[in-house]
Amino acid sequence: MTSVSVETTNTAEPHETYVHQHHWRNADDEKDAAKLGMWLFLGTEALMFSGFFCAYAVFRMLYPDTWKQASDYYLDWRIGGFNTLVLVISSFTIVQAIRGAQLNKKMMIFWNLLATNICALTFLVVKIGWEYIPKIRAGELPGAFFTYGHGPTGTTHDHLFLGIYWVATATHGLHVLIGVFVIGWCMIRTMKGQFGPKNYMFLENTGLYWHIVDVIWIFLFPMLYLV
């Protein structure tokens, strides 16, 4: 019932004949609503991660020494810093992609989206290849896989720091991975010509989503790496 019907004889780009869904009065209302919905969703994302931040804050207050030592021992700020840089660049490129849609430059959208996705994949590769896999090899997974006795403080609190590190970064990583697929979908839609100055709602919401993923990392990075 989404009622997008395009005349077969129409030679215009699809975005120029965009028809809003039938329950909206006009496409502007629909666009505003989509944006409002997206902002609400961003709020839920922030609140969801606030659970991790809160747990982190409580235990950092309880065990400040462990937090300092575990961060130095387990995490390399250079890897985290590189990943931060990569995500900040990707935030810029996705904004450029939206600009491309406003300017009706199809290839500008496409290349910027591609750059964003390359950054996202770089982030994941660095995260997994330089952090997760060495950690798993060193027995630094939480729970049954954790090898006790060689941590910085030698107490169970090392384990607690790693516990929060794993769940927070893995949940964030999952968001990055979802972002890769959504941006990939945007690239397909770009090549179909569905984004233009009058219709870039989906692209803009993807950008908003990507920014929250970025912002959450910008909080996670100093919390975990720069204690």
Binding site: A33, L40, T44, G51, F59, L62, G143, I164
Partner: protein, 607 residues
């Protein structure tokens, strides 16, 4: 988009051509119709599917509640100790060993082996809580009635994001599947609150899948809330400002805000609980330096606002019931509207009152003081409703009886709240039946009664059939009596010190417990009676007029049941939702419905 704008959205049900039941043609029609419902984007159909699902969950939870009350009919009993095979165990001297227990369901086995009855009781009350909270009462009003009526009441064709709406329905089903799965795999015995460290250390049952179910159901709730906020902001009919919205919409809006802001915190809490159980990350495990009380903080940061997800939409329903069936402008419209919002705001500040025995005294004082705040907007609502009824021409039909029932029960439930907020009395009442009685008066006596009122109020609108009002009134009375007999006794039990969540009790409590259990039977008869009346209405009910009660809100302006796109023409609002002193309700003939005195109503309208 068949172009068939005059067709009712419910029209094709059961009518699949001339081939007769179970012919090939009938099956073809049946399959098409099932597929059409399964993929529908129509908010009314999605809402109806939600309604069926939540009522089914209510039925299951209700059966479990009756079993709980059966178990508590007798106090402790002396029974022989048996081994796993059911043989009587003898001691060294060859005598039978006896134990004291409240066994009414002894010898039940699950997939994980035989269960003692205490264990079984633990699983039953956990199941009752989880079913009623996560599957019934949280989605009942927002997802079921909200879905059907918010777009109708604001004059929209649909909710803002119809596909998201369908998605949240399937997420609900998916989460519900997990809950049913964990029930079949042995259930949980942690209570619906999943308190750590018990929930992270118990090897019994299927806590992980139950928690995962609640986690998934949370997403359904978040998406529904987002959808309604945007709908209310962006899809109001021309001419409808914020203060022209019906109060049900206001209440649903406040509820949606709570859903969107609180549920993500539950999601992350349950996710950490799942990680804790599967990977032992240690956040809630004291052995690793974690803090189990942190779980309580996280959990109640969601679950206290969730209490208002359950009750605030019920306030909205009662506002509608009282205005429509009193045929009178609501007293203090803005006060009621803002009190919903202020309840939503205050709800985020008072989670600590669930933890008076588990947190620092300084925090207790703050949370205690803040808790009293919530009584203010709640009392504002109650006083306004009563003021509305003053000198009104009240129609004493079933929905109005339920509104009255709500006022009575909810006032008791509300006024037994402050004793919990007072630290000194709370230490005495903590974890007793007084607490059980208090929240059942609010949740059941408030929300469920309001849901029943809403069912009767809007039944003609969404089914297109009238029900038989006279027996329904009797059943409403039975429900009222049964409910109060069941739960009022529990206030006495609680003040006398009977703790909650035990399968047994000392013999002194026998009389009160037996009265309470008998009350639950009366309640069950009343609810079952309602079911029969509704079935009779669906089978042979009189066709409902579009506006049987004389309502002024926009849902009464369309057909019963509504046409596929809600309104034949986009409605333009020319009057407020409760302007009974200025406007004659549309399409309303008092003769449509046996009012006590139609002349009186006409006079009240100044005609």
């Amino acid at each position: 988009m068949s172009g068939d704008h005059d067709a009712s959205f419910l029209k094709p049900i059961g009518d699949f051509g001339d081939g007769g039941v179970f012919s090939a043609q009938w099956w073809r029609g049946f399959r098409t119709e099932v597929w059409r419902w399964a993929t529908t984007l129509d908010h009314k159909k999605i809402g109806l599917m939600y309604l069926c699902a939540v009522l089914f969950a209510f039925f299951l939870g209700g059966v479990v509640a009756l079993m709980l009350r059966m178990e508590l009919f007798y106090p402790t009993m002396i029974v022989d100790v048996t081994d796993a095979a059911g043989n009587v165990v003898l001691n060294d001297a060859g005598e039978k060993i006896t134990k004291t227990t409240g066994e009414l369901f002894p010898g039940w086995t699950s997939s994980k082996g035989p269960v003692t009855s205490n264990n079984f009781y633990n699983r039953l009350f956990s199941l009752h809580g989880a079913l009623m909270v996560f599957l019934f009462i949280i989605p009942a009003v927002p997802a079921a009635f909200g879905n059907i009526f918010i777009p109708l009441m604001i004059g929209a064709k649909d909710v803002a994001f119809p596909r998201l709406n369908l998605m949240s329905w399937y997420i609900y089903l998916f989460g519900g599947t997990f809950a049913v799965y964990s029930l079949l795999m042995g259930g949980v015995e942690t209570g619906w609150t999943f308190y750590t460290p018990y929930s992270t250390s118990t090897q019994w049952g299927s806590v992980t899948s139950m928690v995962l179910g609640a986690f998934i159901l949370g997403f359904s709730s978040i998406l529904t809330g987002m959808n309604f906020i945007v709908t209310v902001h962006k899809l109001r009919a021309p001419g409808m400002g914020w203060f022209d919205m019906p109060l049900f919409v206001w209440a649903s809006y406040a509820t949606s805000i709570i859903q969107v802001l609180a549920t993500p915190v539950l999601a992350i809490t349950l996710l950490m609980l799942i990680f804790e159980r599967t990977f032992r990350i240690g956040v809630f495990d004291p052995a690793l330096g974690g803090d189990p009380v942190l779980f309580q903080h996280f959990f109640w940061f969601y679950s206290h606002p969730a209490v208002y997800i359950m009750i605030v939409p019920a306030f909205g329903i009662v506002s509608e019931l009282i205005a429509v069936h009193c045929h009178k402008r609501l007293f203090g419209y803005k006060a009621i509207a803002f009190s919903s919002i202020s309840i939503a705001s205050v709800s985020f500040l008072i989670w600590g009152h669930h933890m008076f025995t588990a947190e620092s005294p300084a925090a207790n004082v703050v949370f205690s003081a803040l808790t009293f705040l919530v009584a203010i907007p709640t009392a504002i609502k109650v006083f306004n409703w009563i003021a509305t009824m003053y000198k009104a021409s009240v129609t004493w039909n079933t929905p109005m009886l339920y509104a009255m029932s709500f006022l009575f029960n909810f006032s008791i439930g509300g006024l037994t709240g402050p004793p919990h907020a007072v630290l000194s009395t709370d230490i005495h009442l903590h974890d007793t039946y007084f607490v059980v009685a208090h929240f059942h008066y609010v949740m059941m006596g408030g929300s469920v009664i309001a849901v029943l009122g809403a069912l009767h109020h809007w039944w003609p609108k969404f089914t297109g059939k009238m029900y038989n009002d006279k027996p329904a009134r009797w059943m409403a009375l039975l429900v009222f009596i049964g409910f109060n007999v069941t739960f009022f006794t529990q206030f006495f039990l609680g003040t006398q010190g009977m703790p909650r969540r035990y399968a047994t009790y000392v013999p002194e409590f026998t009389t009160l417990n037996q009265i309470s259990t008998m009350g639950s039977w009366v309640l069950a008869i009343g609810l079952f009676g309602h079911l029969l009346i509704f079935v009779q209405s669906l089978v042979s009910g009189r066709k409902a007029p579009p506006n049987p009660w004389g309502g002024l809100t926009l849902e009464w302006y369309t057909d019963a049941p509504p046409v596929e796109h809600n309104f034949a023409h986009e409605p333009v609002l020319t009057h407020g939702p409760y302007d009974y002193d200025l406007v004659v309700p549309p399409g309303w003939d008092p003769a449509d419905y046996p009012l006590p005195d139609p002349e009186l109503v006409r006079k009240a309208h100044g005609h």
